[in-house]
Symmetry: C2
Subunit: 452 residues, 2 copies
C-alpha cells in the first residue's frame, strides 16, 4: 500500500505507520475495500468526524477539534444563514439553468460587483474548482488558438484530465502535459535579495519562449494568487505584474485561481489577485463559495468569452442550481453582514504576530507569512541554509492534531504549516493555536523519532 503517490501527499495517513486502534483500523479497512486505492485520509491517526459547529469539529466520543484548516466552511461549520438558505430553497425548488430563475442573476450581479476596475463581466457556474479551471482552460484555448499552459512548480489546480496535467503537486506519477511548462514559485524567503517580480516575469517569459520554440502557442498563465500549494507566498504584493504583462504580450490569458485565496481570505480584498494590482482575463472561484454546498465557477471578460460562446453552448446540470445559488448568496451576504474581511485581517495579524513571536524560542521557525487569515509557517533544519525540515513539519502537524488543533502542510519541501481557518476564528481561538503550536514544536524537538 505504500506507493509514491502516498508519500508525495503532504500529511497523508500511511497504513501501518502508527497504531490507530482497532475501531479506526476496522473503519479504514472497510473504507479501503469500498472506495478503493485512490482515496487518502489525513493525519497519522485519521479522524472520524460526526459533527461541526463554528470553528469546531467533533468526533463520535465528543472530543472537539479546533479547525484551522478548512476554508470551505469559511463562515464556520453549519452557519445558520447558509443552512437556512439551503433548507428553504431545497423545499421550494432545486432545478437548473435551462429555466429562468432570479437567484443566479442576483449572485452574478454581486460577484461581478466584487471585481471593480476589471473588465470581468460574466459569471459561469460549475460544481467544483476543478471544473472551473477546466472550463477556464477550454475558454482560453478557444480565445487564443493556443494550448500552452504555464503554472508554478508545485501548483495545484484540480483533478480533471486536462487540469491534472497542469497540477504538478499531484506528484511525478501524474504526467504533465507536453504543452505545460513549470516556473519556479516566487519564494521571497529563498530569493536572496533578488527582485521577485522581475525574476518571476523573466521565468514566465522563458517558459513562453520555450513553448513557442516547440511550436506551442501559449493559452494561459494560471496562478493561485496566494500560491497555496507552493507554500503560501503573499509578499511582496505586486510581484505578479511583470508576469501578467508577459503572458498578455504573448497573446495568452491571465487566469487567477481564487479557489483557495478568494472570498475575503486575505482580509483586505475579496480576491487575492487584487493585492497585486493585476487584471485577470478569467478568475476561477470555488471552495468557500457555498460554505460546503458544491458550487464553483468563473468570472470572465466579454472578450475572453465571445469566441467560446459562438462555438460552444454550456450546460452543467447541477451548476447554478437554485439551491447552490441560494447558499452562495447567503455566503456573500454573511461575509458583508458579519464584516468578515476586517475580522480576518485583525485575527490574521494576531495569529501571524503570535507565531512570529515563537521564533525566539523555536529555531525551527524559519519564516512566518500571511495574508489575512491564511498563515504559512516555514520550518527549517538550519536557519542559515533555510533547509526544509519535512520530518519536523509532519510531527508538528500530527502533534497539533493530538492536542485538538487541525491544520496541515504544503510547499515543495512539505515543510510549510498551512493555517487556513474559517474566517470567524476569534482572537481567543487564535491564541489557542499559538499555544498549541508552541507546545507541539517543543515536544516534536524533544522526541524527534517518535512519529517520523
Amino acid at each position: 500500500m505504500k506507493t509514491t503517490a502516498d508519500f508525495n501527499m503532504v500529511n497523508a495517513y500511511i497504513p501501518g505507520r502508527a497504531n490507530v486502534g482497532p475501531a479506526t483500523e476496522a473503519m479504514i479497512e472497510r473504507r479501503n475495500a469500498l472506495l478503493g486505492p485512490a482515496y487518502r485520509l489525513m493525519y497519522e491517526h485519521p479522524l472520524h468526524i460526526v459533527r461541526g459547529d463554528g470553528v469546531w469539529l467533533m468526533d463520535p466520543e465528543g472530543r472537539r477539534y479546533l479547525d484551522v484548516y478548512n476554508n470551505v466552511t469559511s463562515l464556520g461549520h453549519c452557519h445558520p444563514a447558509v443552512t437556512e438558505a439551503i433548507c428553504r430553497q431545497v423545499q421550494t425548488l432545486a432545478t437548473n439553468t435551462r429555466y429562468l430563475h432570479d437567484t443566479i442573476l442576483e449572485l452574478a450581479e454581486r460577484l461581478i460587483a466584487s471585481v471593480p476596475g476589471t473588465d470581468l463581466a460574466h459569471l459561469m457556474l460549475t460544481c467544483t474548482g476543478s471544473e472551473a479551471n477546466d472550463l477556464a482552460y477550454r475558454i482560453a484555448k478557444v480565445r487564443t488558438g493556443g494550448t500552452g499552459v504555464i503554472v508554478t512548480d508545485t501548483a495545484y489546480h484540480g483533478i480533471t484530465d486536462a487540469v491534472s496535467q497542469f497540477s504538478p503537486s499531484l506528484g511525478v506519477t501524474v504526467a504533465l502535459g507536453p504543452h505545460v511548462r513549470l516556473v519556479p514559485a516566487p519564494r521571497l524567503y529563498h530569493a536572496e535579495g533578488a527582485d521577485l517580480g522581475e525574476r518571476f516575469a523573466r521565468d514566465v517569459e522563458a517558459a513562453i519562449a520555450d513553448l513557442q520554440r516547440h511550436g506551442i502557442k501559449p493559452a494561459a498563465l494560471i496562478v493561485d494568487s496566494l500560491f497555496t500549494s507552493d507554500g503560501i507566498l503573499p509578499e511582496p504584493a505586486g510581484f505578479l505584474k511583470g508576469a501578467v504583462e508577459a503572458i498578455k504580450r504573448a497573446g495568452g490569458l491571465f487566469i487567477a485561481d481564487e479557489v483557495q485565496p478568494g472570498f475575503g481570505r486575505t482580509g483586505e480584498h475579496m480576491w487575492g489577485f487584487q493585492r497585486h494590482g493585476v487584471v485577470p482575463d478569467i478568475v476561477t472561484l470555488g471552495k468557500p463559495m457555498g460554505n460546503g454546498q458544491p458550487i464553483a465557477g468563473l468570472l470572465a471578460t466579454a472578450d475572453a468569452l465571445a469566441e467560446f460562446g459562438k462555438h460552444s453552448r454550456y450546460f452543467n446540470t447541477f451548476a447554478g442550481n437554485t439551491v447552490s445559488c441560494a447558499a452562495a448568496l447567503a455566503v456573500l451576504e454573511t461575509i458583508e453582514r458579519e464584516r468578515l474581511l476586517p475580522h480576518a485581517a485583525h485575527v490574521g495579524q494576531l495569529l501571524r504576530d503570535g507565531i512570529a513571536g515563537l521564533a525566539a524560542r523555536h529555531e525551527a521557525i524559519g519564516d512566518v507569512r500571511d495574508a489575512g487569515l491564511f498563515v504559512g509557517v516555514e520550518l527549517v533544519s538550519n536557519r542559515a541554509t533555510r533547509a526544509p525540515d519535512r520530518g519536523l513539519t509532519s510531527r508538528v502537524v500530527n502533534l497539533m492534531r493530538d492536542k485538538g488543533v487541525l491544520l496541515s502542510a504544503c510547499a515543495q519541501g512539505h515543510n510549510v504549516l498551512k493555517i487556513r481557518p474559517p474566517l470567524v476564528l476569534s482572537a481567543e481561538q487564535a491564541g489557542m493555536v499559538i499555544e498549541a503550536l508552541d507546545a507541539s514544536l517543543a515536544e516534536a524537538q524533544r522526541t524527534p523519532q517518535a512519529l517520523a
Copy 2:
C-alpha cells in the same frame, strides 16, 4: 446571436424567433448580460420557474407545468425524504473525504450491492456526471496505456475538456479529439432488418482497427446504455454484447454511462446495462443520484482501479461530502420504499402504449420505444422513408409546453421526443401527457408554419 451552436442544440430558445413578452425578454437580456454568450434556455418561450412539487413545476403566476423531462428530480421535485436528509445533515456536518465518516460507506455498500454478477467493487464520487466520465477516462488511460475512445455518433458524455472531445452531440464547432472514433448508433427503426448487435460489434471493431492503424491504443468504449442523445435506443436488449467483447479483446475497457438511464429508470433494473447482459469495467453515475443535490460518481472493478490508485491519489473537495451522501442514501432508500422500479415499469408501459395508440391518427409518429419511464417518439415526414421531421418535432415540443407539459427532443435528426419524467408519475398523469400529445400533434399539423 444566431450561431451554429444555437441551432445544433435541440429545443434551444432562439432570440427574436417568437414574441416572449416584455417581462421575459427583460429577464433574458439581464441574464445574457450577466451569464454571457454560452448559456442556453429551453423552449421558444423560456420558462421562469419558481417552485417545484412532485411532478409539477410552477411559474411566478402560479401556472403549473407537468414535468416529464427532468430525471434529475427522479423522486419528484422537493421529495420530503431527500429535503429532510439534506436539512438534517447540513445542520450537523458538511465535510469531506479526508476524514472518516459513515454515510459514504453505507452509500458505497448499497451501490455496490446494486450490481450483482459484476466485478464492480469500488465507488468513487464526483460532483457531476461530466466529472465522473472524465475520471473514468483517466482511469481507463492508466489501466490500458491507451488513449483511444469510441462513442456513438450523437453521444453526449459531458463538458470537461477531455469529455467534450468525445461528446459529438455538442455540435461540429466543438472539435472531437484525434483519438476519438464515432460509430453509428444502433437504431433498430432504421436497421432494415439487419442484426443490430452484429452490426454494432462490426462498427466497433472497425473503429478499433482504425485507431490501431493510426498508432492509437484503444482505452475505452463508452456508451450511454439507453443511447439517450442518439434518440433513446433500448431494443433489442442484448445488442451490446458483441461490441463489449470487441473492446475487451482489444485491451480496452467498457464504460457504461448510466447518468441518464440509471437509478431505476428502465423499470426492470437499477442500471441500463443490466438489460443487455453485459459486464462493464466502469459504470458512471449522475443526474438522479441526489434528486437534485450535486452528486455523481463511478463504480469500478478492482482491476480497473489498481494502477490508477498507485499513480494518482484522488480528492475532490465537495465530492462525497456528508450532505450529498445523505441525499444519495435517501434517494436509494426511497426508490426501494416506494417501489419505484415496478411503478416505472407499469406507468412507462401505459405511456408507451397510449402514445403508440396515437399512431393510428397521426401519420407523423414513426416509432414509439421505451424502457420503463424513458419513452422516445420518433417523428417522421414520411413513414416509408422514415425521414426525420425536425420542424414538426420542435413545434410539438413547444405546443406541449404551452399546454403545460414539459418535454424535449433528441437524436441526430432532432426528431425524437424525449419523455423522461420523474419516476413517481401517476397513471392519470401519463394520460394527461398522451392527451396533450394528441392535441399538439393535431395542432402542429394544422398550422405547420406557426412556430417553425
